[in-house]
């Protein structure tokens, strides 16, 4: 084994053919490493080689432990290599990293500068988040170190800690400020990394620093920094860019703050004259900042000129950046695009695909009803050439969005969507086909036009299927078969048998997946209602009646039964009724007899999947303590025998792709509106469809605006043919963008020409909801899988009559008995909006309920969105109308009613009610106007952290003048975090005018979701042992009195709503739980003025968060 680095090349020159040699060398290395474990210098070289081997692609994990060892035991040089190897080999989640903690700890305390440097360097690259408390005090200490390099690295290590565990670093914000004011520019620059993060999360908290940032930038731009920091004679460009980014975040939507930075932005734009990449990089940031902060006309003009330099540059890099900047800039100023239209046209045919791509992105953002055909055509052209999956997915979505929004006519729409399906292939996201089908199914207000559209779609698909040898993507085939099954009846000239024949051919192809086959089979089923000719039927039944795929088998059984019984066929599959409501007996009550019989024969009761899963998991642990098992509350379909759910308002749907039925039920339970909101844009509310757009093909007849805007280009007297072509393209692309009919970004519809392709659901209030919900479901041919219980049922034909009630879309006799008993059960079981729409008469004054002592520090904050500035000014006037908390709520601990948002028509009040099992957010909507408010809908947008078992939408069809209505939301926190924003919006209509939208925000804190957990000491002990995630921290605590512990614990109990289980001597145990049911146990020990807290919980994040809360409380106590 060679001992010097010079031996490396021989190792490197390994040819693929010499694989054996490589393996044996690796083997030698393995042996070498084990032998040399004591000889550190040689070990160092081995490790260096190992790094190289890993880079070449060989497995090197056997050496990881030696890297850690070397970092721990080696002298300085070895340590350096050891740390390097660790940082290259391991990542944050690697288990071996824990072994490094002690080494880092030791080196941080070292008197040797280099060791400290190394420890800080490795800590700012990777560190196990749960061990941060161990090193944090040492790192903090280093912020005061005399050497700037140590201070700088300490700041960066804190930056890293903030990234991986923000809660741990929250208490040292003051020290960040000190770093910002550091006399060394390097340390200051490093602190900007942290500030960028902090400000990104909470721009409002740091507005006071704007002045400092501006001053720093001024000094940097003015060249006040040491020449060292110059880069190609530009002063500290990285620093400048970082500052510009921070200023951008601070100045956004804030005229006052923006005012402070105009000067320095102007200066930056002026200074950047040298023709070098670095100045362009700064300019690019500058342009973005100028266009993001509160607008100032002359600055924007200057920035626009700068951007022109980019776009016109012959260098591709600059051109690319210029176009990219343009995509940001057009949100403010559409005219800029017009200035550069010829360049944009040229870039459309650029040889470099990335420039093409960014140009298309630009075009996508300037699309309106007039240029949509041209732009979509360009996008599709690019799509056909591109092979990249990511590009395809994103572009396909964009084309579908544009087509739905701006389609000029039916033919174009169907053709475009066909192209999308064909090009997108199977990469296409599933929401595109489902949206398309929903559009077809729901149609518009115009019956004739709907028919035309559907008929056109049917025709085009028949034509496509005519071509034999072409293979279509699965999703496209699914769309085709659904449309053919549903709407073939519109095409009277073709016989249904022919279509069935075509679909049958398709079924036979091996390229068709079984999911698609299920779609086709259900389409065939639907087609059989149009004909009595059952020629192909036996063939279909024969091939799929015995299929291995239970889904296909079920489909063919249904087909058989339905064809035999025409009466049922007509009730189950009525024509053109895909949007009608269906009621399904979700509880499968008709199976009760069967289940009872099975149970009678000694079968085990059914357990849902998650329950089985949980049981399995808990068996793996040593102890199973389930006293807090509230987890099943949210699963309505628990067991069909014990937990019978009423089917009120609940019908079964399933995802378009064969999801399990369980998922399907969940979907219908919680009204999946997030997807919907995205699709049904604002335009949907307007419903303007006065005139249709003239075909855009005739480019000659340019509208006035076009001639106006393209006049510049037409000035050239003689234009070559090619030029002319380009100009034509330009005029068709940039039509409608002129300044006199300025379209806002994303082409808010020009009311006169815009045909609205999507309509709103919310606008119709509750009805709209249901319709939307059902439409979403009924696109699906059948829920393709039968729930577990029914698996064996399906095979027995005698029982089949019963089982079909479930998979088939029907309202037939089988389940008729169930719906009748709905209302009674429905009310107490599941919360229906209408139930809670009790209108309360306005009360003369806000009630001054005794404010809960627990929350006396009023941690009920209100963020005021920019658009309701006047809310607080109006507060005095409205308070006369302010509602009071009803008795049922007032009995719980609650905060004061606060105004969320208000305008002259409507006011929104809320508060927090800390119920035992949830955080209840009641919402009072007061109509302050003199007329009725229609279709008011409150919609909460829940983040991942929160959950509710109910709907997040509360529609109110009518709110009488001068009255208040209320609704409430029960929240639980699934992912712990110290604070979370609950946002929502209220939409409503006054008389018949447009919908108005008001947004509101509530800050919810972790402690809003913390409840005491009543345990005995013994239970505590058991639970403590069964929990694995723990965090330990010392809190300094001044008074060293004997009662100090109990007073501290009682403070914690009071502030955080904990339950003190026991206090024994200098130790205390406390328990609490995070709603819904995550326990968190605290063990406190008081010793010599220090309170050491040890937290455990089954959830890994909760102890951190709780620790942070405890720290806050203890700090407040000391103050």
């Amino acid at each position: 084994m060679e001992k010097t680095l010079s031996a490396l090349p021989s190792l490197l020159s390994l040819e693929p053919g010499a694989k054996l040699a490589a393996a044996s060398r690796l083997g030698a290395l393995v042996r070498g490493i084990t032998e040399l474990a004591s000889k550190q210098k040689q070990m160092r070289e081995c490790l260096v080689r190992l790094i190289y081997c890993e880079m070449l692609g060989y497995e090197a994990s056997f050496g990881y432990i030696h890297a850690i060892k070397l970092a721990q035991q080696g002298s300085l040089m070895e340590k350096r290599v050891g740390y390097l190897a660790v940082s290259l080999f391991l990542n944050e989640s690697h288990q071996l990293l824990l072994l490094l903690v002690n080494t880092v700890l030791k080196d941080l305390q070292s008197t040797n500068l280099l060791e400290v440097c190394m420890a800080l360097t490795v800590a700012s690259q990777l560190f196990p988040p749960e061990m941060i408390p161990a090193v944090l005090p040492l790192v903090e200490e280093k912020l005061q170190h005399s050497k700037e390099i140590i201070r700088r690295k300490a700041v960066l290590a804190l930056h890293k800690f903030y990234l991986i565990a923000p809660n741990q670093v929250q208490h040292i914000h003051d020290k960040f400020r000190k770093a910002l004011c550091d006399r060394d520019p390097g340390v200051m620059a490093a602190s900007l990394h942290i500030y960028l993060l902090l400000i990104k999360e909470n721009p409002d908290g740091y507005k006071d620093l704007t002045g400092s940032f501006v001053t720093i930038l001024k000094q940097v731009v003015g060249g006040k920094l040491a020449v060292d920091f110059n880069y190609h004679s530009v002063p500290a460009p990285w620093l400048q860019i970082q500052l510009l980014r921070i200023l951008r975040l601070l100045g956004k939507d804030d005229p006052v703050t923006s005012e402070q930075m105009y000067d320095v932005l102007d200066e930056s734009l002026r200074r950047a004259e040298i023709n070098h990449n670095i100045t362009y990089a700064i300019l690019f940031e500058c342009i973005q900042t100028v266009y993001t902060v509160h607008p100032k006309a002359d600055l924007m003009e200057k920035a626009a000129t700068c951007n022109g330099k980019f776009i016109l540059s012959p260098k591709n890099n600059l051109k690319y950046l210029g176009l990219k900047a343009l995509t940001y800039v057009i949100q403010q100023d559409l005219n800029l695009v017009l200035q550069h239209q010829m360049t944009i046209i040229e870039c459309l045919d650029h040889s470099d695909p990335i420039i093409k791509r960014v140009t298309l992105e630009l075009l996508y953002r300037i699309t309106n009803a007039q240029n949509v055909t041209v732009i979509v055509q360009k996008l599709l052209e690019y799509l056909r050439e591109s092979k990249d999956e990511y590009v395809t997915i994103s572009l396909v979505g964009k084309v579908a969005e544009l087509a739905e929004k701006y389609a000029p006519n039916n033919e174009w729409f169907v053709q475009t969507m066909n192209a999308v399906f064909a090009v997108g292939g199977d990469m296409i996201p599933s929401d595109i086909p489902s949206n398309f089908l929903r559009l077809l199914a729901e149609g518009f207000d115009d019956e004739v036009e709907d028919k035309q559209l559907r008929l056109y779609a049917v025709n085009s698909y028949l034509a496509l299927l005519e071509k034999d040898q072409v293979q279509y993507p699965q999703r496209f085939l699914q769309v085709m078969s659904w449309v053919l099954g549903e709407y073939s009846y519109l095409k009277t000239e073709t016989k249904p048998e022919d279509i069935i024949e075509k679909l049958h051919c398709l079924l036979g192809k091996c390229s068709v997946s079984s999911e698609t086959k299920a779609w086709i089979l259900s389409a065939i089923t639907k087609l059989f209602r149009l004909t009595l000719n059952v020629k192909v039927l036996p063939e279909v039944l024969q091939s799929y009646g015995n299929s291995m795929d239970s889904c296909l088998r079920q489909c063919s059984f249904e087909l058989k039964q339905l064809v035999e019984n025409r009466e049922i066929m007509n009730t189950v599959l009525p024509l053109d009724a895909s949007c009608d409501d269906i009621v399904v007996d979700a509880s499968l009550s008709f199976l009760d007899g069967f289940v009872a019989e099975a149970l009678g024969h000694g079968a085990a009761p059914y357990k849902p999947h998650h329950q089985r899963q949980e049981e399995k998991l808990s068996q793996e642990k040593v102890l199973n303590f389930e006293p807090y098992g509230l987890a099943f509350v949210t699963s309505p379909q628990a067991s069909s025998v014990t937990g019978r759910q009423s089917p009120a308002g609940l019908s079964i749907g399933s995802e378009i792709s064969c999801n399990s039925t369980e998922a399907g039920i969940k979907d219908s339970n919680s009204l999946k509106l997030d997807g919907v909101k995205k699709v049904w844009g604002k335009e949907g509310y307007l419903r303007k469809r006065e005139s249709k757009v003239e075909a855009l093909a005739s480019l000659g007849s340019e509208s006035e605006t076009t001639t106006d805007t393209s006049s510049k280009t037409e000035r050239t007297a003689t234009v070559s043919e090619e030029e002319q072509e380009k100009q034509q393209l330009a005029s068709s692309l940039f039509v409608g963008l002129g300044s006199n009919n300025l379209v806002s970004l994303m082409g808010k519809p020009q009311s006169s020409t815009q045909k609205v392709w999507r309509k709103s659901k919310i606008v119709e209030g509750q009805n709209g909801h249901e319709k939307a919900m059902n439409a979403q479901k009924t696109i699906v041919p059948h829920p393709p899988q039968i729930p577990n219980l029914m698996d064996n049922v399906g095979e027995r034909c005698s029982l089949f009559q019963e089982s079909k009630a479930m998979p088939l879309r029907k309202t037939s006799s089988d389940s008729a008995e169930v719906p009748t008993e709905q209302p009674a059960q429905g009310y107490d079981r599941s919360w229906t909006p209408s139930n809670n729409l009790k209108t309360i008469k306005a009360m003369p004054s806000a009630s001054k309920e005794p404010f809960s002592g627990l929350f006396a520090d009023g941690n009920f904050d209100i963020i005021q969105p920019a658009n309701c500035r006047s809310a607080f000014e109006a507060h005095d006037q409205i308070s006369g109308l302010a509602p009071s908390l009803p008795e049922e709520f007032a009995q719980h601990a609650h905060s004061k009613l606060e105004l969320l948002c208000a305008n002259e028509n409507i006011a929104l009040f809320s508060c927090k009610i800390w119920k035992e099992d949830c955080l209840l957010i009641p919402l009072f909507i007061t109509n302050r106007s003199s007329v009725e408010v229609h279709n008011a809908t409150v919609n909460f947008a829940l983040t991942d952290e929160l959950q509710t078992s109910e709907s997040t939408d509360f529609p109110f069809p009518v709110v009488q003048s001068q009255t208040t209505v209320k609704c409430h939301l029960c929240l639980q926190m699934v992912n712990p975090c110290t604070q979370v924003l609950l946002t929502g919006h209220l939409t409503y209509q006054l008389e018949s005018s447009h919908c108005t939208q008001e947004e509101f925000t509530l800050i919810l804190f972790l402690i809003d979701f913390i409840r005491p957990l009543k345990l005995t000491t013994e239970e505590f002990g058991h639970l403590w042992l069964s929990l694995s995630n723990d965090v330990k921290q010392n809190l300094s605590f001044a008074p060293n009195a004997p009662e100090a512990l109990s007073s501290a614990l009682h403070t914690l109990q009071k502030e955080l709503k904990l339950h003190i289980v026991d206090i024994i001597g200098t130790e205390g145990i406390i328990a609490c739980q995070l709603l819904p049911s995550t326990p968190c146990l605290l063990h406190c020990r008081f010793h010599g003025g220090i309170l050491s807290v040890w937290l455990r919980s089954p959830c890994s994040v909760l102890p951190d968060c709780m620790l942070y809360e405890c720290q806050k409380v203890m700090q407040n106590v000391q103050l």
Binding site: K41, L88, T111, L114, T121, L163, N277
Partner: protein
């Protein structure tokens, strides 16, 4: 905007709950023959993914023509690359980031290598690649620019290198040097 790498880091355990911020994702150095010379990952990825990414990127970048843009879109990331003699320097950033400044980061790194090795060539990096890593760590830390002053970076490296020459001397003496 921070979700971009989520798709990549599917299986790295709990750490993927950490939001990724607009920083550099990784840096690769490879030769014209497609041989990897240096790799630095600032996001946690599994070895398999690293290999896959490297393979794909090397292919894509080598296929680019000389006059083309130095930027390219790859998955949901932006790749910024530049060729110096026989070596390609290649960085991945997020979509919102500034491509030009990344290009200058590459250039500054090359300048640092050049100053340290004295007109650097590919062989310098092959034979002293741990030095190249040390310089990189002094310049970029955790994907963020740590120190932009050329002088300061090299000072830090040279200080540490001093020790290598006296590596054989006993440790107590080393500590004396470190203290100064």
């Amino acid at each position: 905007m921070f979700l971009s790498l989520k798709s990549l880091i599917g299986n790295t355990g709990e750490s993927n709950t950490v939001l990724l911020r607009g920083k550099m994702q990784f840096m690769l150095l490879f030769s014209r023959q497609g041989k990897l010379r240096l790799q630095k990952w600032y996001v946690p990825l599994s070895d398999k993914e690293k290999k896959k990414i490297t393979r794909e990127l090397v292919q894509t970048v080598l296929a680019r023509k000389p006059k083309m843009c130095s930027f390219l879109e790859w998955r949901d990331l932006k790749i910024v690359y530049k060729r110096y003699a026989s070596l390609y320097f290649c960085c991945a950033i997020e979509d919102q980031d500034n491509e030009l400044i990344t290009l200058e980061i590459i250039h500054r790194y090359v300048e640092l290598l050049d100053k340290y090795f004295g007109s650097v060539c590919e062989l310098d990096i092959i034979f002293n690649f741990e030095k190249a890593y040390f310089i990189l760590d002094e310049f970029l830390l955790g994907g963020e620019v740590q120190e932009t002053s050329k002088k300061n970076v090299l000072k830090a490296i040279e200080q540490a290198d001093l020790l290598q020459e006296e590596a054989e001397t006993p440790r107590s003496v080393l500590e004396e040097i470190g203290l100064t």
